[in-house]
């Protein structure tokens, strides 16, 4: 049992949970969250791939990729949330 095995499986599991959520969630906000979970799962996989048995240093390239992935994801999340907010405003106006 090494950390990479444990956290690798964690990552796949989190990805799977996000998958279920993205497919089943009807609430707009929850679906965004599910997608965010998927991205964390993918991040786990890359970080695990970079891990080397100490004292060897990990591979820095996947780390950089995950950081990029995190920034990309926050951008996408922000756009999705802006869409949700705007849509809700329009719907509320229409109902009134």
């Amino acid at each position: 049992m090494t950390p990479d095995l444990i956290y690798g499986l964690t990552g796949v599991a989190v990805f799977g949970i996000g998958l279920v959520g993205a497919l089943s969630a009807q609430d707009r906000l929850r679906r965004v969250l599910a997608l965010k979970l998927c991205s964390v799962g993918a991040g786990f996989l890359l970080v695990v791939g970079a891990w080397r048995e100490p004292p060897a240093a990990p591979d820095p390239v996947p780390h950089a990729l995950v950081i990029t992935g995190i920034v990309v994801m926050v951008s996408a999340t922000a756009v999705a949330l802006a869409l949700i907010r705007r849509l809700q405003t329009l719907e509320a106006t229409d109902e009134r």
């Binding site: 996000g18 799962g41 993918a42 756009v79 229409d94």
Partner: protein, 485 residues
């Protein structure tokens, strides 16, 4: 000290600087946008000249070289896609000038340009990339800009469609990212060259599946097309033209490109892809037959056409990609040009008549003749009638399938053609029926300069069929795909 720059880096950076300038100076956005498009087209032309002279060209960014660094590479196919993007983009921009000219569209106008130029940055980046993680980032640039364009009109329907598009887009990108993770786990590198010849282990098959499904979602391959019709139908016309003509092609191109380096491990999987394509051809066609609005019909036709491209990709040759990619590439180019023309024409018709309900197209004495003519010309290419580029693509597809003995795939193509005739002729009937109008119907109504761009595109879609031989030999430059380099 002189700066030495390559046309490849310019093809990506010029639109990027243009986007920045257009965003910072919203009042001059249109001017900046046009200057940018001209300069980008110049860079692409320069690149095309290089590729013609020297075959495939590469550029190791930062001087590191793959696999540590990122290389750019341009061959015939890349440059063809870049050229498609430049030409269609330029003409759509001209059309956008007219369709976004009203005072109530000031805000749309202000945001159209930076978003569109960012989109251009992303697409050009995709066509030059040789690294799958870089592709992921580029695809995200495209996704955010494309969603921004989808919801440009700000209507509730557009926003709902844009949100669904956003979900599909993020989801597809994340599947792609997970696939990238598996590639790294197995191979420890992410450049295309590293993928070549790798044995199909479990991790790589998982990666392939994830990446393919992710891209299929982005390019709206049946049954993952659910987001496309509403998104493309509810966007404003120039945005629809860009989305349908260009954006879906980026993911398609990545599928085509990756399949070169990560061959499908089994013939059956390829057949499955063909089946999905066939499903799209049939389902998209049937839905287009039932669509009530013109733009929705055109959007469903995109679903069907994407399916046809996948049929070509999967089954237009016996020896896999070494033959079938050409048919797929020709169909991609043909659809890009013709669909942009068609969406612009549909937008013009909607603007002139005031609605786009197909059933009532003939209830008005207003007949925007030139837009209708453009629509018909684009339909000729999309149906695949000679001598259009669509015809040449379909010919290549059927020739390959027939030579390989895949008769059922020939059948699917023919069924798709008949369906497209059926759904487009609904529209023609609306254009050409006159007995439901009381007022006299005059000819040549609604001629406008705005028709010039879509008409040019439609004429290109038809005329390029005559130039298919040079086009074909161009996209083969520096592009082995199984053929001896």
């Amino acid at each position: 000290m002189s700066v030495e720059i390559s046309p490849m880096i310019l093809s990506v950076f010029v639109p990027l600087f243009g986007a920045i300038a257009a965003f910072v100076l919203p009042r001059a956005a249109a001017l900046i946008g046009f200057a940018t498009l001209v300069l980008t087209s110049g860079a692409v032309a320069w690149l095309a000249r290089d590729v013609l002279a020297a075959g495939a060209v590469g550029l190791p960014l930062g001087g590191w070289g793959a696999p540590l660094g990122i290389d750019l590479r341009a061959d015939g196919l890349s440059v063809a896609m870049l050229a498609l993007t430049s030409v269609v983009g330029f003409l759509v921009s001209i059309a956008a000038l007219d369709s976004l000219k009203g005072p109530e569209q000031a805000r749309q106008r202000q945001y159209f340009w930076p978003l569109w130029l960012l989109l251009l940055t992303g697409m050009n980046g995709v066509y030059l990339s040789t690294d799958i993680f870089n592709l992921y980032v580029m695809i995200e640039v495209i996704a955010l800009a494309a969603v921004g364009l989808t919801v440009l009109s700000g209507s509730r329907a557009a926003l709902q469609a844009g949100l669904d598009y956003m979900y599909a887009s993020i989801f597809g990108a994340l599947l792609f990212l997970m696939g990238v993770g598996f590639v790294y786990l197995q191979l420890g590198r992410l450049d295309f060259a590293g993928l070549t010849g790798a044995a199909p282990t479990g991790a790589l098959i998982a990666a392939l599946a994830l990446i393919f499904v992710g891209l299929a979602l982005k390019t709206a391959l049946f049954p993952l097309h659910f987001w496309l019709p509403a998104a493309h139908a509810n966007a404003t016309a120039p945005a629809s033209a860009l989305l349908s003509g260009l954006v879906v092609k980026a993911a398609l191109y990545v599928v085509l490109r990756l399949a070169q380096y990560m061959p499908f491990p089994s013939e059956n999987l390829l057949t499955l892809v063909g089946l999905m394509g066939a499903g799209a051809v049939i389902w998209g066609g049937v839905q287009a037959l039932r669509a009530e609005r013109l733009k929705l019909l055109v959007a469903w036709s995109t679903v069907a056409q994407i399916g046809l491209i996948f049929v070509a990709f999967a089954r237009a040759g016996e020896v896999g990609l070494s033959e079938s990619w050409k048919a797929a590439a020709l169909l991609i180019l043909a659809h890009g040009i013709a669909k942009a023309a068609m969406f612009l024409a549909a937008g013009r018709i909607k603007d002139e008549i005031g609605h786009d309900v197909i059933r009532d197209l003939d209830r008005t004495p207003i007949r925007p003749t030139l837009a209708q003519f453009t629509f018909a010309l684009a339909a000729i290419s999309l149906i695949g009638l000679p001598p259009s580029l669509g015809f040449i693509g379909k010919w290549s597809l059927m020739e390959g399938a027939m030579a390989a003995g895949y008769w059922h795939w020939v059948g699917v193509t023919m069924a798709g053609t008949l369906l497209s005739v059926a759904y487009f002729s609904r529209v023609f009937a609306g254009f050409l029926r006159f007995d439901r109008v009381r007022a006299p119907v005059g000819e040549h109504q609604g001629w406008a300069l705005a028709d010039a761009a879509p008409l040019t595109l439609a004429l290109m879609a038809i005329g390029l069929g005559l130039l298919a031989a040079p086009v074909l030999s161009f996209i083969e430059i520096g592009y082995p795909f199984g053929v001896a380099p």
